[in-house]
């Protein structure tokens, strides 16, 4: 931390003529800069579980009818004495539960108790290779789940929540106390098959997901009770890195960006190569018959996250994407985040709308709105909609968003609320108001890290009045690092 260096610096300034040479002052300033960016709290290490605590209402009032829990996942332990994760995606997963009941909010958090975390706790060193972390020879990896950080997203599953990663099994945790139950095997012969972090929920309750291995993908189809309905392996036209996919009520849509695996290597990013000349392909599969497929071509872009898709009557398919021009954030920017200092290369992602026409043409139109973590109305998953909630305010060089917004694709404009650079704003989920049907009759619920106060906050926005700011804000006693993705269980 920096206070002692800051006070030394200020003291030095006051006494400069008498004591400090310019060299001393410069040296102290360099130390101060090296000590960390103002946003470094967002990637701090958490040393242990955080027992349930009341959050204090600091703004507005709890909306009537908002009852439930926001479960959120994200990395919360990067650094150990014998070696550290060097990439934001490789920290140990910590499940957070923000519970709202009777107008009160609480927060608790527990680490996913994974083999990776056990090994690294024992060795007091991060040794496991990951997405961008090299790891070392002490790693113990007998299967992909031995490297599973369980740190990316959440899926509700009865009285459990599943902590999702990208390249391994879901990890079941108790929804009531966040204790770890173990990896989920959906069928014995599918043990360890990758189950990615962004399942898509169909209007009929079916849950679809994917997992990739080079040039093939497993397509998961789960029943509403989270049991397995079917799993099929399909070939892909290319071995793209894929973090997300999307779906209409009738189609699965796999966006194959030109960031492709060429050979096997660890960490993952070292095997990936950016080939913009290949363009981006969009593979559309018919949910009813996965052998029925259609391939569309788009110019090259990089993305992590897609919005829910929909199909129109004439067969036109549309979906949104948080797109950027290259994978520099994934390779280098995410390392800056764990360093806790430095400049993030490249430009922040912008929202774009992709249209796949029945005649085989595809087009992508950028809104020019800076945004990430797109989320949409769950009542309209796979169906026509006009709104996308997203984070906002990220600027060139500085990582992490500072506001929230809702983009209206019909009007092609975003209504935003900017907290200011003292807040790191995380993904917010769409929570429909009880009994309401209109798309904007919903709340956005999501946290932020208040850098000024050193605390985690939970905000509720009215989707119809985002620019008015939160209708309620609670503040915790602690600051948890910024997470990735969450799920609301009402």
């Amino acid at each position: 931390m920096t206070p002692s260096r800051r006070s030394f610096l200020m003291g030095a300034a006051a006494l400069s003529a008498a004591v400090a040479t310019p060299e001393m002052v410069r040296a102290a300033a360099a130390l101060d800069a090296a000590a960390g960016a103002d946003w470094a709290l967002a990637t701090r290490d958490v040393e242990g579980d955080t027992p349930r605590q009341a959050m204090r209402l600091i703004h507005g009032r709890a909306p009537r009818g908002l009852e439930g829990a926001l479960y959120r996942n994200g990395p919360a332990k990067f650094r150990r004495p014998g070696g550290s994760a060097t990439h934001w995606f490789d920290g140990d997963g910590m499940m957070r539960a923000f519970r709202i009941r009777d107008g009160q909010a609480t927060l608790e958090a527990r680490f996913a108790d994974t083999p990776k975390r056990r090994t690294e706790t024992e060795l007091d060193a991060v040794v496991t290779p990951g997405f961008g972390t090299r790891g070392d020879a002490r790693a113990r990896i007998g299967s992909n789940d031995d490297a599973n950080a369980a740190n990316t997203a959440v899926m509700a599953a009865g009285d459990k929540v599943w902590a999702l990663w990208e390249a391994g099994s879901p990890l079941a945790m108790e929804a009531s106390d966040l204790s770890t139950k173990g990896f989920v095997t959906l069928r014995d012969d599918l043990k360890g098959m990758p189950f990615q972090a962004h399942p898509r929920y169909a209007p009929d309750g079916t849950i679809w997901n994917v997992g990739t291995a080079g040039g093939q993908a497993v397509i998961w189809r789960l029943n509403p009770d989270r049991s397995l309905n079917d799993a099929q392996v399909v070939p892909l036209p290319r071995a793209s890195y894929m973090h997300d996919f999307t779906a209409t009520d009738r189609h699965l849509i796999l966006v194959l960006q030109p960031w492709v695996f060429e050979g096997h290597a660890m960490p993952v990013v070292s095997a990936l190569h950016w080939r913009p000349e290949m363009g981006t392909q969009v593979l559309v599969l018919d949910k009813a018959d996965l052998s029925q497929r259609r391939l569309y071509d788009l110019p090259a872009f990089f993305h992590f996250h897609l919005g829910d898709a929909w199909a129109e009557r004439d067969g036109t398919i549309r979906f949104d994407v948080a797109a950027s021009s290259d994978p520099r954030f994934a390779v280098d920017g995410a390392k800056v985040l764990v360093d806790g200092r430095g400049v993030v290369p490249g430009d922040p992602a912008r929202l774009a709308l992709v249209t796949l026409h029945p005649d085989g043409r595809a087009e992508m139109v950028s809104s020019e709105v800076v945004g990430e973590f797109p989320k949409a109305d769950p009542r309209r998953a796979g169906l026509k909609r006009r709104l996308t909630a997203h984070t906002w305010g990220e600027t060139r060089g500085r990582p992490l968003p500072t506001g929230l917004a809702v983009h209206d694709w019909d009007k092609d404009r975003s209504n935003a609320f900017e907290f200011g650079v003292h807040q790191v704003v995380e993904e917010a989920v769409f929570v429909p108001k009880p009994g309401a049907v209109a798309e904007d009759q919903a709340w956005l619920v999501g946290p932020s890290v208040n850098l000024k106060d050193g605390r985690t906050e939970l905000h509720v926005f009215d989707v119809a009045r985002i620019s008015d700011g939160p209708v309620a804000t609670w503040q915790a006693e602690v600051a948890l690092p910024a997470g990735f993705h969450g799920a609301w269980i009402g």
């Binding site: 990896i141 007998g142 012969d189 098959m193």
Partner: protein
């Protein structure tokens, strides 16, 4: 008064003589798989060299335990003293193969001696090897 070293010197000399006289003492190696489910068979291979363990040679001992009948332990009597490592897998469905998922990852439980875990592959000889001398036991968790 005799010193301790003079008391033990003849014993040490005897031991050296014995080693020279015969290839090695006999070791009785007991392998237990207490967490194995009561189904299928457990295939166990014991190796006495890094080369054999690495696939360049035959195992010193091989056994098939009938886990379905509750057999989860085996003792190999009279092994020469030395370093050994064990590979084991639980053929749950009894098809004689180590089954894998569609992406080639094992779906049936397996383990190595010392409960060693590899680094994106089988546990290395260095992680799995143990010295067997006299009564030696390894408790192995198949997972």
């Amino acid at each position: 008064m005799k010193t301790l070293s003079s008391v033990f010197a003849p014993v040490a000399a005897l031991a050296v003589a014995a080693v020279v006289a015969s290839p090695a003492f006999a070791a009785d190696l007991t392998l237990s798989f207490p967490t194995a489910a009561a189904q299928g068979k457990i295939m166990v291979a014991v190796f006495d060299s890094a080369a054999a363990y690495g696939g360049q040679g035959q195992p010193a001992k091989v056994v098939l335990l009938d886990a379905a009948a509750g057999e989860t332990q085996v003792t190999f009597d009279g092994l020469p003293d030395g370093d050994y490592a064990v590979r084991a897998f639980h053929d749950l469905n009894g098809d004689g193969k180590m089954n894998t998922n569609p992406f080639g990852m094992p779906t049936e439980p397996y383990a190595f001696s010392n409960n060693a875990v590899g680094n994106m592959g089988p546990a290395s000889w260095d992680r799995a090897k143990f010295a067997a001398a006299g009564a030696t036991a390894q408790t192995i968790d198949l997972k």
